[in-house]
């Protein structure tokens, strides 16, 4: 069993008085996908730039494929998609991909890659004339053209339309299947849920939660929301529900029950409403999403 592709312990990075990364730990096992999830400014990009050797850490230990991240031996084995891509402004898309391919001994066929990423008709378009989404796709092509065993993707689907995003998801899934480890950042919940084996949620440079999407949105952490008359006495409801349920009035007249929402729990809630002589309206049962997890942990919306 090979060691982890990426291992980060106590990573700290400061820019002047600002601490961008404040003691992050994470580990990307070989051939798995880890999503670094958080709002803008959470420290995702800084973390990925340090791991891909573009920025030096101020403190902490970072091992990439068992070595220091900036070593040339490591850079020959990884592929990186820096945020916003990067190319000569006047270079043609095809030329840029061929240049990056020439840095590897056994690259994928650049023309094939342009084709599958929908860039064939833009192969002779200069970089500065590509749309944001096209630049993103070129950057992704540059990241994977060298057949790396570890790929860093910083906001890989930012600025892409849904079809392109779906294509990128397919690509990441195929990379993982073929044994490539992927560390990606995103602020899209559905992206993390769809792609990642592990999710690390960061905010203000710290890890606020980590686990698989299933663990983070664990099955018994369901919730039920309904509307009814404001100010009802929830203590009475609590006595009717088994231990392990949480009830709250999130806004006047809006109620939230968190816990395992089974028929017995639903029955207890509706009979309590009947006792109060109110009609529960707009009843919704939902599995917690990563979005809810993030909101619970930070008290803020992700976007």
């Amino acid at each position: 069993m090979p060691g982890p592709a990426v291992s980060v312990r106590g990573l700290v990075k400061r820019y002047g008085a600002t601490t961008a990364v404040d003691g992050i730990d994470l580990e990307v096992p070989a051939a798995s996908v880890l999503a670094l999830l958080g709002p803008n400014g959470a420290g995702k990009t800084t973390t990925v730039e340090i791991c891909s050797g573009l920025t030096a850490a101020d403190a902490g230990e970072v091992r990439v494929l068992g070595r220091a991240p900036s070593s040339e031996a490591v850079r020959a084995r990884i592929g990186a998609m820096p945020q916003g891509g990067g190319a000569y402004p006047g270079v043609k898309a095809g030329e840029m991909l061929h240049l990056v391919a020439s840095c590897s001994a056994n690259p994928l066929d650049p023309d094939w890659l342009l084709d599958v990423l929908g860039l064939r008709e833009h192969a002779r378009t200069t970089y500065k004339r590509l749309s944001g989404g096209e630049q993103q796709r070129l950057a992704l092509a540059c990241a994977i053209v060298g057949r790396p065993e570890l790929v860093f993707l910083d906001e890989p689907t930012a600025g892409m339309d849904p079809q392109a995003r779906h294509l990128v998801w397919q690509l990441v899934t195929s990379l993982r299947r073929d044994g490539v480890a992927v560390l990606l950042t995103t602020h899209l919940m559905e992206e993390a849920e769809a792609l990642a084996d592990d999710v690390v949620i960061i905010d203000h440079g710290r890890v606020v939660a980590h686990g698989s999407p299933a663990q983070l949105t664990a099955g018994d952490q369901q919730e039920l929301r309904f509307r009814a008359r404001p100010g009802m006495d929830l203590d009475h409801l609590d006595t009717r529900l088994p231990v392990g349920y949480a009830t709250s009035e999130t806004l006047p007249g809006r109620y939230l029950v968190q816990g395992r929402i089974d028929p017995a729990a639903l029955s207890a809630i509706t009979s309590w409403c009947a006792d109060q002589g109110v009609m529960a309206d707009d009843v919704q049962v939902a599995r917690r999403s990563l979005e809810d997890v993030f909101l619970d942990l930070t008290g803020r919306e992700l976007r």
Binding site: E72, A76, G86, L99, V100, C103, G118, D178, V180
Partner: protein, 271 residues
């Protein structure tokens, strides 16, 4: 995209990483940077068109004073060294600084720093591309000069072409290091403005079109320590007098190359 996304057969992305051959990387990077320099209209204007036009103009129209020792020669013989110095300054310094400034803006250094391309090769590739452009400039300007009457063998001492080639190389090193220093540290717009202003000032007052001996005293004193003055004087000494480039100009060019190179190595930002 109207077609459905492709499905990737298993093993398509099976890892097989290894660094490419160094020579191949160098060829690819230097090749692209040379092509970009020759494709960019503003850079071509600066590096090829203006020098050729000035070579013609200053050779055919008696605008500039000619040193007394050379009045018997065709004007092009005394104009060509000035224009070669201008050409080297245009490509190695101004054009390269501007290109580097915008390359940084568009993130290409970060992009390439994330590949297996070693950092030293990244710099080498840029320098090779600059040299390629300089070679093209020198060949073009010498051919044009020959067409309008330049005969190196008929110069006073027979032109020292090897010495001239060494001078061009030293000039490219000095201006190249300065160009990397300027383009690698400041914002693209500021680089654009500064590189052009410096080009213009050095062209007129830096000893390029007006030889040091014809510049007003205080300006001449300063200009002999500038890379422009040193390169132009070295080229005049070798191409017109058939002499060696001269210790002074060589030391000045080497000095600028070393100092600017060392400062650049410490301060150039990769983004």
């Amino acid at each position: 995209m109207s077609t459905p996304p492709p499905t990737f057969t298993e093993g398509t992305f099976a890892p097989n990483p290894a660094r490419g051959p160094l020579l191949g990387m160098l060829r690819a990077q230097a090749g692209i940077e040379t092509r970009l320099a020759l494709r960019n209209g503003e850079q071509v204007l600066l590096t090829l068109l203006i020098p050729v036009v000035l070579l013609f103009g200053l050779s055919l129209i008696p605008l500039l004073p000619v040193p007394p020792s050379q009045v018997a020669q065709p004007r092009v013989g005394s104009v060509l060294p000035s224009i070669l110095a201008l050409a080297v300054m245009s490509s190695a310094f101004t054009s390269q600084a501007i290109a580097l400034g915008f390359d940084r803006r568009y993130g290409v250094l970060r992009r390439l720093a994330a590949t297996a391309l070693p950092r030293w090769l990244l710099v080498t590739g840029r320098l090779v591309a600059v040299l390629a452009v300089v070679v093209i400039q020198v060949v073009l300007l010498c051919v044009v000069a020959a067409l309008i009457g330049w005969r190196p063998s008929e110069m006073a001492g027979g032109a020292n072409l090897l010495g001239a080639a060494v001078s061009v190389l030293l000039g490219a090193a000095a201006f190249g290091a300065l160009g990397i220093l300027l383009g690698g540290t400041l914002r693209a717009e500021i680089v654009l403005a500064l590189a052009n202003v410096i080009w213009f000032v050095l062209l007129l007052a830096g000893g390029i079109v007006i030889p040091l001996s014809m510049l007003p005293g205080p300006i001449a004193v300063v200009a002999q320590f500038l890379p422009s003055g040193a390169l132009a004087e070295a080229l005049r000494a070798t191409m017109v007098e058939g002499a060696a480039p001269g210790t002074g100009p060589v030391l000045v060019l080497v000095g600028w190359a070393v100092v600017a190179g060392l400062v650049a190595a410490r301060t150039v930002r990769w983004r």
